[in-house]
């Protein structure tokens, strides 16, 4: 699975996710990536893209939960990401990246690693795996 989340200089957020799914999956199997609110979500506050065990991400409506925690509980982006990774996945393994409309980036994962990269207008740039 691959994904990208962006907030542009006008504060607009967007998210995109694309995948081949799972190796040896049944024909017709649908995972989290195409499900809005599970693998992908964007609103005025943030943009989120998820990856990992699709069934766990779907059951946890992971991407929408990040936005809902910001909207209803007033958490900031990283707090919302940490909460859903810790509390929403049960025994599932997953990761996600997110941006907020005020130019923050955040990520979280409970698998062994996640291929990821970030950059912000003030010059921060980072690429990581573990």
């Amino acid at each position: 699975t691959v994904g990208c989340v962006v907030v542009d200089s006008e504060g607009r957020c967007a998210a995109a996710t694309s995948t081949g799914g799972l190796m040896n999956k049944m024909t017709g199997r649908i995972g989290d990536s195409p499900l809005i609110g599970a693998g992908t979500y964007a609103c005025d506050l943030c943009g989120v893209s998820c990856t990992g065990e699709g069934e766990a991400i779907i059951r946890g409506t992971l991407a929408r939960d990040v936005a809902a925690l910001m909207e209803y509980k007033g958490l900031n982006l990283q707090e919302a990401v940490d909460y859903v990774i810790k509390k929403r996945l049960d025994n599932g393994k997953a990761g996600l990246i997110a941006v907020s409309n005020n130019g923050e980036v955040a990520y979280g994962f409970n698998s062994v690693g996640m291929f990821r990269g970030f950059a912000t207008e003030d010059g921060f740039m980072d690429v990581g795996i573990w």
């Binding site: 699975t1 691959v2 994904g3 962006v6 907030v7 542009d8 200089s9 504060g11 607009r12 957020c13 967007a14 998210a15 995109a16 996710t17 694309s18 995948t19 081949g20 799914g21 799972l22 190796m23 040896n24 999956k25 024909t27 017709g28 649908i30 195409p34 809005i36 992908t40 979500y41 964007a42 609103c43 005025d44 506050l45 943030c46 943009g47 990856t51 990992g52 065990e53 393994k93 997953a94 990761g95 996600l96 990246i97 941006v99 409309n101 130019g103 980036v105 409970n110 698998s111 062994v112 690693g113 996640m114 291929f115 990821r116 990269g117 970030f118 912000t120 207008e121 690429v127 795996i129």
Partner: protein, 195 residues
């Protein structure tokens, strides 16, 4: 209001035994995508245009599990899916069961912008792709030797390859995982595809 920001991912559940050169390859691809995104944002591209542009780049490279290099179904074919969402107006588009569209993320965007729906799948999505004139290729374009080998292993073990599990308690770091040949779904963990 802060400035622009961008994040990309290439999948979770990384193989703890991933060889160093593969790790470098992945970091180079992620860095290339970030630089493409940075120059687009500096040229005042909109967020929705940048996320589509970057995911197209990732779909076209066989390194990660999407587009070319996608995981294979039980029948050895590729069935892809994608979604895109624009935070301003909360518009969205999604596709599933895609087998011949070169860049599924662009078809998802066309669903969002050129159809009355937010999600099209399988033959309906492929029909819509033809109507919209997007680039279409044979399913073999998406299949790589690596993934044919992975599918063979998965079938021998009669398993669906999930991503990796967090190292067992007590193994302080991934390197500890490298020594202990953990089995998962009947397979040595080292054979799992990145996702």
């Amino acid at each position: 209001m802060g400035g622009w920001a961008i994040a990309v991912h290439g999948g979770a559940g990384v193989d703890p035994n991933l060889p160093q050169e593969r790790q470098e390859e992945a970091k180079q691809l992620l860095t290339r995508c970030l630089n493409l995104g940075i120059s687009s944002l500096r040229s005042s591209f909109s967020a929705i245009d940048v996320v589509e542009l970057i995911v197209r780049e990732l779909e076209s490279d066989p390194l990660f599990n999407s587009g070319r290099g996608s995981a294979l179904t039980e029948n050895g074919k590729v069935e892809m899916e994608a979604s895109i969402m624009d935070g301003s107006g909360r518009r969205c588009g999604a596709v599933s069961g895609i087998t011949t569209v070169k860049n599924p993320i662009s078809l998802a965007r066309l669903v969002m912008e050129k159809s009355p729906h937010s999600y099209l799948a399988f033959s309906g999505a492929e029909e819509f792709a033809k109507q919209q004139g997007v680039e279409m290729v044979d399913n073999n374009y998406f299949i790589t030797e690596d993934n044919i080998g992975m599918l063979k292993l998965a079938k021998e073990a009669n398993t669906i390859m999930f991503d990796y599990r967090i190292p067992l308690a007590g193994s302080e770091s991934c390197s500890a995982v490298v020594e202990s040949p953990i089995q998962m779904n009947g397979l040595p963990i080292s054979v799992y595809a990145p996702e």
